[in-house]
């Protein structure tokens, strides 16, 4: 059983079969994996730290961009569930966080499988700025991630060429917005927290951000360098 650490691999090892599939479909990273494993015997993930990950171009690039953000969220909630705050949280907060952990993990598993051999590898995250024993640190970070996720999908929709991919992004973004509202509600605790004016403007519109805006905000939580230069503009 792994203990929570300030950095961890995003792709969890709960499913050995899934991992084998992942290894099979990520031939390009195997050489790097060998190097990584040689230097880090207590961790078996096939990802080399600090090796730049290229998201790719076109729709695949956008899907990998979404996959990267889902990885970040899933890794965060996985660690939340192992922290002291979660252990002592009330039932409502526990229910919400456990659901969010499961939803983001399902999104990650979906993108990895759907992208197949085009999927980026698991990213290295850095949560050293988060205190997983602190309610305000956990919920404050969750709020940032959920609102960021909503703005990312909102901004990326117009960059997608394949209608099926746009529909899938639409199916996920509204769930991220449901998450964001719930987290804001318990974190801030006011009757208008779920959608107040820092996320909904005077036209009643939510935030939309470009990939470069999103990646620069997410950057402090992701150790793996990401090359997003191929994404559509």
């Amino acid at each position: 059983m792994k203990t929570p650490t300030s950095t961890s691999r995003v792709v969890a090892d709960r499913d050995p079969q899934g991992r084998r599939r992942f290894l099979r479909t990520s031939g390009m990273t195997l050489a790097a994996a060998g190097l990584f494993l040689a230097g880090c015997a207590d961790d078996d993930d096939p990802i080399m730290m600090n090796e730049t990950v290229n998201l790719g171009s076109g729709d695949i690039g956008i899907l990998n961009y979404a996959y990267a953000l889902e990885q970040l969220e899933a890794a965060f909630y996985a660690q939340v569930l192992q922290g002291d705050y979660y252990a002592s949280a009330d039932n409502e907060e526990k229910d919400i966080l456990a659901d969010l952990e499961a939803h983001e993990r399902a999104h990650v598993d979906f993108f990895r499988a759907a992208l197949g051999s085009s999927a980026i590898p698991g990213l290295e995250v850095d949560f050293s700025s988060i205190d997983f024993n602190s309610r305000s640190s956990v919920l404050g970070t969750a709020q940032v991630f959920e609102d960021l996720g909503v703005s990312a999908y909102n901004g990326a929709g117009r960059l997608i060429m394949n209608p099926d991919y746009l529909v899938v992004a639409g199916k996920i973004v509204s769930v991220e917005a449901r998450h964001a509202a719930a987290i804001r509600s318990i974190n801030i605790g006011t009757p208008t927290a779920f959608a107040n004016s820092d996320v909904v403007d005077s036209n009643g519109l939510d935030v939309a951000r470009t990939p470069s805006q999103v990646l620069s905000m997410a950057g402090s939580f992701i150790l793996t360098p990401i090359d997003a230069s191929g994404l559509p503009q």
Binding site: E104, N154, V167, A177, R178, P191, G204, A208
Partner: protein, 264 residues
């Protein structure tokens, strides 16, 4: 018949656009189908079943989509405003929450009217609404009933915008704005659901309103297959939670069928 009238309005208001012939033909077909459905009163579930799990594949024109969205925003805006105006229906924190949602819906009405005019179209007139659905619901005298309808309208609104996203491809600014409204509706839905002690997200096709007439709002939400991939085969997350993690689109006709009882 009310639906047919709305469809005809969406189309005629968009007639200034150079709409593709095939789309117009498909749209006429939808109108005829709906007219027939209203006349012979097909069971709602039977009518919705074949279409609920899929996005609209025949594209509607941008103006049609915007007028459709405007119609739904008119409905929500008036519903919430009437709730706020009703004597002692909404008090305390609940009133504050509803007041913010009401403001967003009014903002959406104004935004869409401006967007339609700016795109060379004519904003559809606000229809007359009957939020009691012919006396079926004590909507403005019973707070739980008001919240039930609020949940049904918000969860429907999320599905409605999602169902039109592909019709807006190629018009990046409009698509982005629609997505920005869509996620606000999802925030509303989450909050209203949680005020009713439901989860903020939808489990399976569970209609947690307690009103059977709203079953169509949740039809197809139990889908676990996306891009042809059954997600339950690639994750250890259980099926219920997989259904929660993806929301599903609704076609224009399915949404208007849900809204129909509230058109006066």
């Amino acid at each position: 018949m009310k639906l047919l009238k709305l469809f005809n309005q969406f189309e005629s208001l968009a007639s200034a656009e150079a709409a593709p012939t095939t789309r117009r033909a498909a749209f006429g077909e939808v109108g005829r189908t709906l007219g027939k459905a209203a006349t012979v009163a097909l069971p709602l579930a039977a009518f919705l079943k074949p279409t609920t799990a899929f996005a609209q594949t025949s594209g509607n024109s941008v103006i049609e989509v915007l007028n459709y969205a405007l119609t739904l925003e008119y409905l929500e805006a008036e519903f919430y405003q009437m709730g706020l105006d009703a004597n002692s229906l909404l008090t305390g924190d609940m009133r504050e929450t509803v007041a913010l949602i009401a403001r967003h819906e009014a903002d959406h009405v104004n935004f869409l009217r401006t967007a339609i005019s700016g795109s060379g179209g004519t904003p559809i007139d606000k229809p007359e609404f009957d939020f009691t659905a012919g006396g079926m619901f004590p909507t403005f005298s019973d707070t739980p009933t008001f919240l039930v309808l609020a949940q049904a309208f918000e969860d429907t609104g999320v599905r409605a915008y999602k169902g039109q996203a592909t019709s807006l491809m190629g018009n990046g600014d409009v698509l982005t704005a629609a997505l920005q409204i869509h996620s606000v509706e999802a925030r509303h839905a989450s909050e209203i659901r949680r005020m009713r002690d439901s989860k903020g997200w939808i489990t399976g096709s569970m209609n947690s309103t307690g009103v059977a007439a709203a079953d169509g709002v949740y039809a197809g939400e139990n889908n676990v297959t996306h891009l042809g991939l059954d997600v339950t085969t690639v994750t250890q997350v259980n099926r219920d939670r997989v259904t929660q993690a993806w929301d599903e689109p609704l076609t224009m006709e399915a949404v208007l069928e849900i809204a129909n009882p509230f058109l006066a």
